[in-house]
Assembly symmetry: C2
Homo-oligomer: 283 residues x 2
């Protein structure tokens, strides 16, 4: 039997439509919402992702500036760019794209982003507010995981969610959002002694390890809901997830890659940007 496909396309479309409506109203009122993406890499899949954000923003009536500092940008140059954009009243959302040049810490640099414009929840202050359950922008990918589960009416309270991956951008904030939704949350990672033993105990399995095909059929108990956050470059120029295709024979439901978490993430970034613009123009 094949798992139910938990597509993100329908949810993403409705989120984008809602963002467009809000963006058009802001533009009509004289404040076109503007998103800035700071890039300091020549990594192909990262640049592909930035282009997809820029295209989606344009379609939703959001101006998107890609500030490309080049792969040889210094930490000081990146910091200065983030400071300038944080201080610029015409900019409402600021994203620092990874990877960064060697020696640059994304979390440290993102501490420079004004929390009111931190639409991808990258500033550690945003992460702390999220952990303390205070209002903050969540990292869009982490929020997309929960939004997609909600959209497909997967219950969370009291259920055991196993997150594979402990990154500051996905695994850890997803764990916070899932705890806030009353799930019991386990976080596994590369040092976990018995990964299949942990993941087989999940009601819901969230895989955000960044390793193609890491999770195989042997990791998944029959009927498990599996969310694949991975976006790894495939040989054919496309994307593959962290979950091997064979898992669909065992899982109860599975998010596709592409077309699952990805489009929801982009749509949430746009939503955060118009929310930031609305908030910033009011203050």
């Amino acid at each position: 039997m094949s798992a139910i496909s938990l597509s993100g396309k329908e949810l993403a479309a409705s989120l984008r439509a809602r963002a467009k409506e809000a963006a058009d109203a802001l533009t009509a009122a004289g404040t076109p919402p503007r998103l800035a993406v700071v890039v300091a890499t020549d990594d192909g899949s990262s640049l592909w992702y930035v282009r997809s954000i820029a295209k989606a923003a344009a379609k939703s009536g959001i101006v998107c500036d890609v500030v490309d500092l080049g792969a040889d940008a210094t930490v000081a140059e990146i910091r200065r760019a983030l400071e300038t954009l944080s201080a610029d009243d015409t900019v409402h959302g600021v994203i620092l794209q990874t990877p960064l040049p060697e020696g640059a810490s994304a979390a440290d640099l993102a501490g420079t982003i004004d929390p009111a414009k931190d639409v991808d929840g990258a500033n550690p202050a945003s992460l702390g507010r999220l952990a303390a359950r205070l209002p903050a922008f969540a990292p869009a990918t982490a929020e997309a995981v929960v939004a997609l589960l909600d959209h497909h009416e997967v219950p969370l309270p009291g259920r055991h969610v196993v997150v594979v991956g402990r990154s500051t951008v996905v695994g850890v904030p997803a764990a916070h959002l899932l705890l806030a939704r009353d799930a019991t949350v386990s976080v596994c990672h590369s040092r976990t002694a018995d990964l299949p033993g942990m993941t087989r105990r999940a009601d819901v399995l969230v895989v955000a390890a960044g390793r193609a095909g890491l999770v195989t059929a042997g990791h998944v108990a029959p009927g498990t809901v599996v969310v694949d956050v991975g976006t790894n470059p495939a040989g054919d120029g496309g994307l593959v997830g962290d979950v091997a295709p064979e898992v669909s024979e065992v899982a109860g439901a599975l998010t596709p890659v592409p077309g699952g978490v990805g489009p929801v993430t982009t749509a949430l970034l746009l939503g955060h940007t118009v929310a930031a613009a609305a908030h910033l123009t009011q203050r």
Copy 2:
């Protein structure tokens, strides 16, 4: 067979001795380290804890001011006190004691504490930096859990640590510190569907639920290392933990209450205060 007792007294004594040495050096150099504890409660066990901090500080050569605003203090009064202390150059550590009057959010108010003086890691910005593995003061109780395990040479990398309790002051930051030490971490709470089923799978069980006797022998697999963070008022005026006494018949090792996590927590607070004083006088 009875569990090995993982006392915190020896570790606390050595941490206090180290703090006293640093405090005396600072005082000799003209900067007596000073800790301020803001209190807005008449809760007995909270006031008992504040007195124990003040006494321990005095013994370690640290000045401790208890700023008692009374149980009817307003949010604005508490905020003003924290702002004043954050701006006061003679104060190096600021703690906001809980519980707070109804309507006051500890996490929100603690956002007012200068992170450089946030010796109990209560500011959400400190929690976020901890989660992002940037330098920050950790909440002393959470740090005490890991310090006590280290002191008793309980290995953490790759092992499954189950944390019961998801508070911003203990459960969540303990989970971050344990993840940073390469443990696989599960967080359970009042909404967990099958608590004994989760806790029986732990190599190390950390209980920080704030409910006397919550964890019984049926929750613990033979040989488990159990850390009891609970400090609940007992009928006789003493303290009891979250772990029932019978657990010592099953566990491999168990921290006593009192005399386990508690004294290490206080000693770490003093250590943070002298570290903050040393750092603040250098800048």
